[in-house]
Amino acid sequence: MRPSTGFERRAQLWLRATLPIFAGTLLSCGQPHQQPTAAAPPAVAYEAHITAGDATIPGGSLRNPHAGDAAVARNGALLFTAMNCDGCHGGDATGWVGPNLGAGRWRYGGADAEVFNSIYFGRPRGMPAFGGTLGVEGVWTLVTYLRSLPPPPDIPTESWQN
């Protein structure tokens, strides 16, 4: 087992403070989660969008500091429940009122940065903005979990021949 990175230690400390059994203080104090500004995202960046005239949108790029980290993904799975994400997106993110997030298909793009923006800023058809509650680190933890979900079976074609 490799040693924890600084990010992981911070994530673990953060998670410990926000999981439901310890959640009372965070959830009741109503204070916005303070984050280092260096990690804050640019206001808008949809990497996969069509751009007019092939002109790149100016602004910083977002990189998931935990990409592929299984331990962070496991924390993200806990966070997915603790923050009631499953209440809308279903257990294991298989979809309920909110879309299925485990099928490898994404309304607003599935790159790490796009998923980050969806969670951090919210989306217009009812996805709340979690950036204020989770902060940058918490959102990356969730992104890491969602990106770790196993590829689904082949579901585009459903057939009933019998």
Partner: protein, 593 residues
């Protein structure tokens, strides 16, 4: 066998005459048969019974579609159209467009359509699809709720907005799907949000202005509930602040008890009746106590909201057994005695016959397979619980509870009552569930649930039915089993024909006395709406119904959706083939002879 002491129509006519004296004629009478359908449940008693009899058990086999209209909306089309004079009014699911069709012209062209601005954020706060349960006509206005927490009144002739009032707050988890009820100068409304930990309420708005005249909580202190010691007389309890003391840890503050179904009204007693939804969260160990008055029936004065009595069907609900289904008022004869009854088919699987003056339970019998309780004790009004089927985080995954949290019947599927056959007609679901609870944190603007509850077919293997029920004896008279859960409302007429739809998209008429299917037609999408009947300007009787698969089923069976390439889901394991028979899409159908 039971007998109806007097026909419901006569009772309501007499009541309306007495009630109308000296009152502003704000609400339509809708008590004598005038061929219209002006309120969600046909009449204040919520019978969904029409004395029109041109379509009868003899000729219903020749029913055929005469007109259709695509609403252009994909959400679940619960609710029902209205017919007022020569106009049919249709409210769609979000974005809650109101269409007015001219029934005097060939092809029923639109007179107008009203397109309100409704927040798309409501789509993420509504628990169970973007549904709307219908409008109410009163005083020249069509009154209904927008999903995002507003009530609107629209001029029935011109289609112009008369008033718009914010009644609920999306930010608190409140959405507005229920059908309003108008009594005199009051528009009674409530909010959904039992999955978001709302602090449930009903409000009375002024019919003329939309101003909020009163607001009453469904739980909390007596003061908040508009319960006073001298006027609040619950049949089985006494004491102050029952709505607060029956919740440990002050959990009533996020305790749910939403109002998302139907309201009925007895003009003689001057009481409105409505059911409240589940307590929040689903994990019951976070809210010790009875959790009054969630999963309850509340009787109030429409004028000022004063609470007169309340009865709780499912104390300390730990199965999501909302009591928001219709409260049907009927005068029955039970054991030789005439009774002013209220009949309610609850999600918990019991059909209740109550005394609607006092709230005492006269009869409670299972109408679908039930195993969470053995019976209802008529001396205490409380269910006799099965200890093996109680849930909570410390109990882990409790297996095979019947009925499922979809209910023995969905509250979205209102029953009908015929004073001719003395029978009630209702859709049912035959589903059971496992229920795994866990602690959940309340985070405003997000769900407050804490349960995973997969379903399975109930005993017998079929998933739903449509049945006739004798509420005076608590017995099933006939039942048509269906391969899928049945989420349609019921309609019954003086032609002794009963109408209902199915989730796989059939619209059926059946003999009200025997259940024999007389006609069926495939209506393009699953039916979760409620049929109505009316006499058109051409003098003929027609039946109208929405097709438009949705409600919970659009979520549970995500493979029925075809509109979002980014959200492709596998079939539900207990209902693998529903997508073979239906997809989404709202259509208004009219059938005639």
């Amino acid at each position: 066998m039971s007998r109806v002491a007097r026909s419901a129509a006569l009772t309501w006519l007499a009541a309306a005459l007495g009630w109308g004296q000296g009152m502003a004629a704000a609400a339509p009478p809708a008590t004598t048969e005038d061929g219209q359908w002006t309120m969600p449940s046909k009449d204040y008693a919520a019978t969904r019974y029409s004395t029109l009899g041109d379509i009868s058990a003899r000729n219903a086999r020749s029913l055929h579609p005469v007109w259709t209209f695509s609403t252009g909306v994909l959400g679940g089309h619960e609710g029902q159209p209205l017919v007022v004079g020569d106009t049919m009014y249709v409210v769609t699911p979000w974005p809650n467009v109101l269409y007015a069709f001219d029934l005097t012209r060939e092809g029923y062209p639109l007179k107008w359509k009203y397109r309100p601005e409704v927040s798309a954020n409501a789509l993420g706060v509504a628990c169970c699809d973007s549904v709307n349960r219908g409008a109410f006509y009163a005083d020249g206005k069509i009154i209904y709720n927008l999903l995002d927490g507003h009530t609107v009144a629209v001029d029935a002739r011109s289609g112009h907005e008369v008033w718009k009032t914010q009644i609920a707050d999306l930010g608190n988890g409140e959405t507005t799907t229920m059908a309003p009820l108008v009594v005199r100068d009051r528009v009674i409304v409530g909010a959904a949000g039992g999955e978001f930990g709302i602090y449930g309420w009903v409000k009375g708005l002024e019919l003329s202005s939309g101003r909020i005249a009163w607001s009453a909580r469904n739980l909390g202190t007596d003061d908040e509930m508009r319960a006073r010691a001298d006027t609040f007389r619950p049949p089985y309890e006494h004491g102050a602040d029952l709505g607060a003391h029956s919740w440990g840890n002050e959990s009533w503050r996020t305790g749910g008890a939403p109002v998302w179904g139907w309201i009925s009204y007895d003009p003689q007693l001057d009481l409105i009746y409505y059911g409240t939804g589940n307590p929040s969260p689903y994990n019951a160990e976070q809210r010790p106590g009875d959790n009054k008055w969630s999963t309850s029936l509340l009787a109030r004065r429409p004028e000022d909201g004063t609470l007169v009595w309340a009865y709780q069907f499912t104390p300390h609900d730990n199965w999501d057994y909302d009591a928001t289904g219709a409260m049907v008022l009927a005068d029955l004869t039970i054991a030789g005695q005439p009774v002013k009854a209220l009949v309610h088919f609850d999600k918990n699987g019991f059909a209740y016959t109550l005394d609607r003056a006092s709230g005492r339970v006269l009869l409670a019998k299972p109408f679908t397979p039930v195993n969470w309780a053995q019976s209802v004790d008529l001396n205490t009004g409380r269910p006799v619980l099965n200890p093996e089927k109680q849930t909570g985080a410390s109990r882990g995954n409790v297996k095979d509870i019947c009925p499922s949290l979809e209910g023995g019947v969905s509250p979205a599927s209102p029953p009908a009552f015929s004073p001719r056959t003395h029978l009630f007609y209702t859709a049912t679901n035959n589903l059971c569930m496992d229920y795994a609870s866990k602690h959940t944190g309340h985070l405003k603007g997000t769900p407050f649930v804490g349960v995973v509850s997969p379903y399975s077919a109930g005993p017998g293997g079929y998933l739903g039915s449509f049945m006739a029920w004798d509420a005076a004896s608590g017995t099933k008279v006939w039942e048509n089993k269906e391969p899928f859960p049945n989420w349609s409302g019921a309609l019954v007429t003086a032609g002794d024909v009963v109408f209902y739809g199915t989730l796989d998209g059939w619209f059926k008429s059946a003999d009200a006395r025997t259940g024999r299917v007389l006609s069926k037609f495939k209506v393009g999408s699953g039916v979760v709406g409620n049929p109505i009947t009316y006499r058109a300007p051409d003098g003929r009787q027609y039946v109208a119904v929405y097709a438009g698969f949705g409600g919970d089923w659009a979520l549970l069976t995500g493979d029925t959706r075809s509109d979002d390439p980014a959200d492709v889901r596998a079939p539900a394991d207990y209902m693998k083939d529903i997508a073979r028979y239906t997809s989404q899409g709202g259509i208004v159908w009219i059938f005639g002879l």
